[in-house]
Symmetry: C2
Subunit: 172 residues, 2 copies
Amino acid sequence: MMKNESRTPPESSSQTCAHCSDSTLDTVRRIENAFFDLSRPNTAPRRMLVEKLAELAKTGEAFSPDDLWQRLRAVYGKIGRATVYRSIEQLVENKVLDRVELCDGSHRYRVCGGSHHHHLVCTSCHRVEDFQDCLSEQKFEEIGRRHDFSVEDHRLTVYGTCRRCRRTADRR
Amino acid sequence: MMKNESRTPPESSSQTCAHCSDSTLDTVRRIENAFFDLSRPNTAPRRMLVEKLAELAKTGEAFSPDDLWQRLRAVYGKIGRATVYRSIEQLVENKVLDRVELCDGSHRYRVCGGSHHHHLVCTSCHRVEDFQDCLSEQKFEEIGRRHDFSVEDHRLTVYGTCRRCRRTADRR
DNA sequence: ATTGCTGCAAAACCTTTGCAAATGT
DNA sequence: ACATTTGCAAAGGTTTTGCAGCAAT
């Protein structure tokens, strides 16, 4: 796939808007940039995706590819499932989306902020929250040195039950 | 599925053997116990699985369900794919196997030692090694408290390139 | 005009399930 | 005899792919 070499910052299609927080505008911007970095065309499906993902970013919801496809077609009508899969893949590569592993091994996706973070996942409702805690950079280097690996990345996921699900469970 | 209530330690089918290390015998024992805990029958497929998994444990190799199926049928002939899937599932539940997530989101399985550990995964050849480092128990509790989650489990995976793959890459 | 995204449908993939037969206790 | 596992084949669900047509630049 050809990368976009002669890049110009894309115009955000979103107007500055009293109803949108700055962080939503940032998210919109980040997604648009990610698409633009891949290639220029600002197509209808991409606009739908930007809008819907900005919404999902606001609530922090995690979704499956099919979830996203269903939501998009419910609101905007015709869009191919393959387009959704292809876009998700691209956005994961461009670090706009995180792939989150549930404890049963299945995956959800989630719009992520830019900074280093990990996931706290509810084993019951699959709610996902971010946290920052982690081992130190030096610790990872030490682990790599010990095993003669050059460390590139790491993932830390904590599984538990969120407050709401605990309450639901107690009620029984 | 009915658990085995009136349990008697199963007889290990392995003789004490000059060629097998104690740790291999332990592994055999652990797998046999896991199967026995599920139900009594000591069937041919289970024996094949015990033997092959003990072998895989020795080399620390990670495998997909299909890998394991192919290896088993190559050596022992007829065995159903479904049996392999069902056994893997049971052994994961009984903590004899770990499910390891590769960086592309696919999974491999691996015979694991009993104690707390995490995985270092080579992004190129998918070799998996164990390490012990982790955040403290208190840290996890603190994360839970902060988000009002009751923490049940966690997974830490480090991705990198192993020595052999680095050398292969350098040679080009 | 060119590039490359999109939608569709088919294919590929992986995993689970139902059931009759085989097996272990 | 009984309970359980097994193998097979079919079904199920998800993801990928090929390609003609279309949209954006």
